[in-house]
């Protein structure tokens, strides 16, 4: 099965700085998802990027996908204290997710701390 591995394991920054997290995976995929988890709102879907996309934006989030390197990055710009959370990448199992009925494998996560 696939597994995303996030890097770094932990990241500590000041408010207003940018935060970059990376994810590497092992086999071909047709999409990759990023989720955020904090104590207040639980695990929440942030963004999905498909294999034919190289970059995707959502508000202050920018996700890139490099299928040749089997890696993705999540950039949070102008971070806020409220961005403090764990961030996970998730990849679909099965034949690039086509018939997997949505099974996802999550990485270990990056713990982001944003200091006010």
């Amino acid at each position: 099965s696939q597994q995303g591995e996030e890097d770094p394991q932990a990241l500590s920054i000041q408010e207003g700085e940018n935060a970059t997290m990376n994810c590497s995976y092992k086999t071909s995929i047709n999409n990759l998802q990023w989720y955020r988890q904090n104590s207040g709102r639980g695990l929440v879907h942030l963004i999905l990027i498909r294999s034919n996309e190289r970059e995707k934006h959502s508000g202050r989030l920018r996700v890139t996908l490099d299928t040749s390197k089997k890696s993705s990055s999540l950039l949070i710009t102008a971070s806020r204290a409220a961005d403090t959370a764990s961030y996970f990448c998730a990849t679909p199992d099965g034949d690039a997710g086509g018939t997997s009925y949505g099974k996802l494998t999550f990485g270990q996560g990056t713990i982001l701390t944003v200091h006010p």
Partner: protein
């Protein structure tokens, strides 16, 4: 739109006891997932239902864990007997469709402590 509901939110039991968790997915979502998340790790899929049928239970410890989704809506996950290593957060998620991959909507989870 109401989110995924789970209960209880917290549960403390002794080893060898049994416990059950309940999940109500978002209305109309065909696919339901149960995950186990051990502290410091990402969620691990235990079982996946498509309507009321099991799609994947390859990582479910079937000697002690069981799950059902009657009528393709609510689901329960049971552990009997519990072991210390079952201490974790149990997350339920649902998604709107079948084949392919879509975003999953997670409930708040049940934090289980086995003493």
């Amino acid at each position: 739109e109401a989110g995924v509901a789970q209960s209880p939110r917290y549960k403390i039991i002794e080893k060898r006891q049994s416990v059950a968790f309940w999940c109500n997915p978002i209305s109309g979502h065909a696919t339901l997932y149960w995950y186990q998340q051990i502290l410091g790790q990402g969620p691990k899929l235990l079982i996946q239902f498509q309507n009321n049928g099991v799609v994947d239970d390859s990582q479910l410890p079937k000697d002690r864990f069981s799950a059902e989704r009657l009528k393709g809506v609510d689901s329960t996950l049971k552990i009997q007997p519990a072991k210390l290593e079952d201490s974790a957060v149990y997350l339920c998620a649902s998604s709107p469709s079948g084949q392919g991959t879509y975003e999953q909507y997670f409930g708040p989870g049940t934090r289980l402590t086995v003493t």
